[in-house]
């Protein structure tokens, strides 16, 4: 549905997007993940044909975003980072305007406006002036605007920014429910959002794609085994020696990140992939008569994956 090939974008001497390529198939939800100023918005603006790329090609539904911009624009719903609203208009008037602008047939406008209002649960707000709405409702009007012409492709730039936790959940549910008939790219720097809503993730940093895979694959690809956090009341040297001898344990270190309680020592144990060592570690500590105050596995989150990928990239660059 969306094909991005070797896209580069320069703003004068600044390189915003550097040779980016990826594909999004029909019906997929793809998360576009990256720290601030990574090039997410620029890439999205190129896909929506808001601005041309310096180099490379992008096609949406088989149409080139530069040469056949009109066809692309007809098929895209775009929610920019700041929802593009006219504060002096009423919600329905605004949506009617956008519907007309997007080429919805006159007879269909009322129907489409009602549908968008219903999807984004804007019912009670539809006759209010947009400037009187709270940030959360404005965001929803922005989303309604993107949905108004039932586009094949939805491009959402940080759709949950500025919403309260309840609204965030609602918007995520809405996005998921839209996936059935839309192809969606959503950008975010909030990691749980990606693991909750997206099937596939494109991680971008400093204008370059550093990883592109399904959420599960990404998690397992950098899986370097389980890690444990221990709080043990005992001499560290001896503990290090004994636990280090346990089969499957890779390293035993003082955990500088955690604060030790009382006389206990905080220890971090990294294990080899695919081995479960918790039982053995606990047994070793108990048989040596040290006090085992805490034993907690740390599961790796997308956050670790993300940090690993983006910091690695920085080292390469430096």
């Amino acid at each position: 549905m969306i094909e991005v090939q070797n896209v580069t974008k320069r703003y004068g001497p600044t390189l915003a997007v550097d040779n980016v390529s990826f594909r999004v198939e029909k019906g997929e939800i793809v998360g576009f993940l990256g720290p601030n100023a990574a090039g997410k918005t620029t890439t999205m603006r190129i896909i929506t044909s808001f601005m041309p790329a310096t180099e490379g090609q992008v096609s949406v539904a088989g149409y080139d975003v530069f040469d056949e911009a009109m066809e692309v624009k007809k098929r895209i719903g775009y929610l920019p980072e700041n929802p593009p609203l006219y504060p002096e208009m009423r919600v329905t008037d605004y949506l009617r305007f956008v519907a007309a602008l997007k080429g919805v047939a006159k007879s269909q406008i009322s129907k489409q406006v009602d549908r968008a209002v219903e999807l984004t649960t804007l019912g009670e707000m539809q006759n209010r002036l947009i400037k009187k709405l709270s940030k959360g409702f404005r965001q929803r009007v922005g989303l309604a605007q993107a949905l108004i012409n039932e586009p094949d492709v939805l491009i959402l730039d940080e759709p949950t920014v500025g919403l309260d936790p309840k609204q965030i959940i609602e918007v995520r549910e809405l996005i998921k429910s839209l996936a059935a008939d839309h192809t969606i790219i959503l950008s975010t720097h909030i990691l749980p959002e990606v693991s909750m809503t997206c099937e596939r993730v494109v991680i971008i940093n400093r204008g370059r794609i550093v990883a592109e895979d399904t959420v599960e694959n990404l998690m397992s690809s950098v899986d370097s085994g389980e890690s444990l956090v221990l709080q043990v009341d005992g001499p560290f040297d001896a503990i290090q020696e004994k636990i280090g001898a346990v089969d499957g344990v890779k390293t035993v270190n003082l955990d500088s990140g955690a604060s030790a309680a009382g006389t206990a020592t905080a220890i971090r144990v990294d294990c080899e992939p695919g081995k479960s060592v918790r039982r053995e570690v606990a047994k070793t500590i108990v048989t040596n008569d040290w006090g085992l105050l805490e034993l907690r596995p740390i599961s790796r989150t997308l956050e670790d994956v993300f940090l690993e990928l983006t910091t690695e990239e920085q080292e390469v660059a430096a």
């Binding site: 974008k9 703003y11 915003a16 620029t42 603006r45 929506t48 044909s49 808001f50 601005m51 041309p52 009109m70 624009k73 007809k74 895209i76 775009y78 920019p80 980072e81 700041n82 929802p83 593009p84 609203l85 006219y86 504060p87 002096e88 208009m89 305007f97 956008v98 007309a100 602008l101 997007k102 080429g103 605007q145």
Partner: protein
């Protein structure tokens, strides 16, 4: 066509839902009213003197309303109109650029020309409403006398042509900045320049002819006399095309600059 109409309607509505339209129209009609009053007083004085002279010397030279009242009123109004243009056009594109709605407009299936024409005609319509409302002054005169309507209407047509040219400049400046104040001041500066350049037009050198030709207000003179000359029409039309063409370039170039 439909797209231009949709954009036109929205922009025009937004002028009239904000105080701008009312402030601009009120200001224009009020200032024109002051000039109307002053010119009317002057006209009555001249008329009184003429009547006095007629009694004394037996000469009867009728004082023409168009010559002594409507013509100077129209010239003054054309300059006041120049001062109103920046207020009318300052938000045209600037507001969209600042608030981010430009992203909506540029990612919708509308061409840049449709977008520019929609905005241009909306701003021009506000200008036209302002000019038409000021037509009450010549109408008031018809109650007490018989001003010639053909030259008066010609003068008003001239004001509308002046608007076509100047609104396009305002829209152009507005498309170059997201700051409404800069848009207004920039437009104002250009209006002043094209007004004052006419002052250099006295004398018979090539330069003064050019200065005279370039002046926005200079081309109003014939209209206020009730003369319709296509030269002036060509001038205002080329001014508009240049303004809109440069607006197109400006929109395109912001796209590339990002």
């Amino acid at each position: 066509m439909r797209n231009t109409w949709i954009l036109y309607k929205r922009d025009l509505k937004s002028y009239f839902t904000s105080p701008i339209a009312y402030v601009v129209i009120a200001l224009f009609v009020a200032i024109s009213g002051v000039f109307f009053y002053a010119l009317l007083t002057r006209f009555l004085n001249i008329q009184m003197q003429a009547m006095f002279r007629a009694q004394q010397m037996g000469q009867n030279i009728p004082v023409n309303v168009n010559e002594f009242l409507i013509r100077p009123l129209l010239s003054n109004m054309s300059i006041i109109a120049l001062f109103m243009i920046p207020m009318i056009t300052m938000r045209s594109f600037s507001e969209d650029k600042r608030s981010g709605t430009m992203e909506l407009l540029l990612t919708s299936p509308v061409t840049n020309s449709q977008l520019i024409l929609g905005k241009f005609f909306a701003a021009f319509s506000l200008y036209a409403v302002m000019i038409v409302i000021s037509f009450i002054y010549p109408l008031i005169l018809t109650i007490y006398g018989q001003p010639e309507m053909v030259p008066t209407i010609m003068g008003y047509l001239g004001l509308l042509f002046l608007g076509i040219a100047t609104v396009s400049v305002g829209v152009l400046i507005s498309s170059m900045t997201e700051n409404q104040i800069i848009a207004a001041v920039g437009t104002f500066a250009i209006m002043m320049l094209f007004w004052m350049v006419g002052w250099l037009g006295s004398g018979d050198t090539a330069f003064s002819h050019i200065a005279q030709y370039v002046s926005l207000i200079g081309h109003m003179d014939d209209f206020t006399k009730g003369v319709f000359d296509t030269t002036h029409l060509v001038y205002y039309a080329s001014f508009m095309f240049l303004g809109l063409f440069l607006t197109y370039q400006s929109i395109e170039s912001t796209k590339w600059r990002g």
